[in-house]
Symmetry: C2
């Protein structure tokens, strides 16, 4: 075994995440490690909480950064709220809706599936009909921004329907947070999770989550313990709680939380609305350029995510060769298709720090070159 | 909300972890983020695996870095191997043995407890007697290095007994890996987990784990799915496996893995035996100095961990005041007591990069000052 330090190249990350991490966030990441119970660190955690409340547009007291990736954030929402006796309606229009179903099934709860079309938003009328047929449902879960297809669903409308049927709502905001409008309180979202490595442009590994008061009540009133000790939020609450002494649960990922603090601060400085507008403007530039290259979007314009652009790979073009060429020749990463779209689509991310004119210009120029070369 | 970048002070970390992270590891951490499926990143993961095999002293093919803290590593070992039908013998001589019991109980398996004394090693004869009484036991679990007390148990002897009773062994090596001898293959450990932030002196948030072939067989032959999707190692294997195409499971914590790679490389350069010897030598210096200050160890000399030194707080000394003074005046963190030892002990860590003469000298001088001031 002959090994040396790993020196990664400087890539431009325009896949489905991780997105480009700015020098400012990397610099925060590398600051000296301090203890996870150090009073200064605890104060910083309070600031992370306040910044997350801003990003999620919520007053939820229980708003924290989970010490693991977004898929653990998803699981935390499901295993804390749902017990085997519950019925959960899950909307599936891509890979991450399917993962929600996996979560419900592993809990042993009853899962009612609203099966949608890949590449389309979740159909609100279809949800309404399913809920009419299943008055026993207690939860509705869906993905706000499907990273596997680039479709944006109308979270406000879906939550309204869920609430009319007395259901609590669980929303995947992994790719939406910071990139498109998300209003947790106004839209009546009871449990929401995201990821650090998408439109927040922080390093991967952390999952911001937030629970409404009603969701916290459900957790507090559980009769059986949460199957996962690590994800048991009644224990985690005691560490993140602002009142009194912090109770040790696990060692927080100190440096990653420095980075998240900085990334959230950058978002706050820019302003949420400005960030949404920037994502939209760069998306429009990219979309025009892609059309000029003859590439077609999978998702209809009205349901498109600005931060995740899925286009059909033209016939006769070798997917793997093009992506390898972009990576090796231009240090540019775009995403492969996932699930039903594997080998059939490219996913071009414009997330957070990556949503910049220079990235759009590079991506269009490099793709033009690659399509000519391999077309 | 008026916020600015968080600039932590430069502390000397001599608590129970996180330990001091070297500039070299912090610098690796801050290198540009690349994609978690980038061929260069995948090669680096192969190197992390090889370096972990070296650190654990194992040829186990299934040796990976879990994308979450050590407590998730613990849970991964338990939930993947154990089903509700199993009987598990757990040795408890501190907080982390107790946490193992929590894990077994949440799975719904039968837990047989070998209850030991806080501050002492696990008693091998007691384990032998328990196993004779419980021939139905399939697993034996214990903590190699109890971070809550500073006691080192004889992992080799305990595993030998477990194997004589046809049990698989689950070992907590969170604080032992890199600091004291650990030979996973030779000692017949079937599942082992550690943490990045102890004697590896990496940033917190990652848990190295390893499963023997026999343990992998148990996982493959499960009749019911693992309750946790995120921790289901049959899915994670497909991402870490060297054969063929990597299957996406979750987004790996790219930058934290750069740091772990660098920390493991430092360990490899020093050599495991040299690292163990350094921890022992610094411990002896510290122990002599602490005795000169009139401080008494909780653990008998033969069962002491060099990297975690628990001493009784002298009568009349205000625990919180002393620790706050060390932190504010010397930027020195030592650990409070945990569980049964809360308010009664200090835990002085000499882990990884922190096990240096300058740290020992600082700690003894600062403690002398504090004891005089608050005595």
């Amino acid at each position: 075994m002959s090994l040396s330090s790993f020196i990664p190249p400087q890539r431009t990350l325009m896949g489905p995440g991780p997105s480009d991490v700015s020098a400012r966030v990397l610099s925060a990441l590398a600051r000296p490690t301090i203890g996870h119970l150090d009073p200064l660190f605890v104060s910083m955690m309070d600031e992370v909480k306040a910044l997350l409340q801003y990003a999620f547009q919520t007053k939820n007291e229980f708003t924290i950064a989970l010490s693991a990736p977004g898929s653990a954030g998803m699981e935390a929402c499901f295993v804390n709220l749902i017990t085997p006796e519950d019925t959960v309606v899950v909307c599936r229009n891509g890979v991450f809706g399917a993962r929600m179903i996996e979560n419900v099934e592993r809990i042993g709860a009853k899962c009612v599936i609203v099966d949608g079309t890949w590449g389309r938003a979740v159909d609100a009328q279809q949800l309404e009909r399913k809920l009419q047929k299943h008055p026993e449902a207690r939860f509705v879960a869906f993905v706000h921004a499907e990273t596997s297809t680039g479709a944006l669903s109308d979270a406000k409308a879906l939550c309204e329907i869920a609430k009319a049927h007395n259901c609590l709502t669980i929303v995947d905001a992994v790719t939406s947070l910071g990139g498109v409008e998300l209003a947790v309180d106004e839209w009546q979202i009871d449990a929401v999770y995201s990821g650090s490595q998408k439109c927040l442009s922080c390093v991967p590994g952390i999952s911001p989550i937030s629970f409404s008061e009603q969701a916290v009540e459900v957790i507090k009133n559980r009769k059986s313990p949460v199957p996962s000790w690590f994800l048991d939020q009644s224990l985690v609450m005691a560490y993140w709680s602002g009142e009194g002494k912090r109770a040790y649960h696990h060692t927080a990922p100190v440096n990653s939380l420095y980075a998240l603090h900085e990334a959230l601060l950058i978002l706050k400085e820019e302003g949420l609305e400005n960030s949404w507008a920037r994502h939209k403007a760069q998306h429009q530039k990219l979309a025009t350029g892609l059309a000029n290259l003859g590439l077609e979007f999978i998702v209809p314009a009205a349901e498109r995510l600005p931060q995740l652009n899925a286009v059909t790979i033209p016939k006769g073009i070798d997917d793997a060769k093009v992506r390898a060429y972009l990576l090796n020749e231009y240090n540019l990463e775009i995403g492969a298709g996932l699930g039903a779209f594997a080998g059939e689509a490219w996913r071009i991310g414009l997330m957070g720090h990556a949503a910049r004119s220079e990235n759009v210009a590079l991506c269009l120029a490099a793709l033009k070159d690659a399509l000519a070369k391999f077309g």
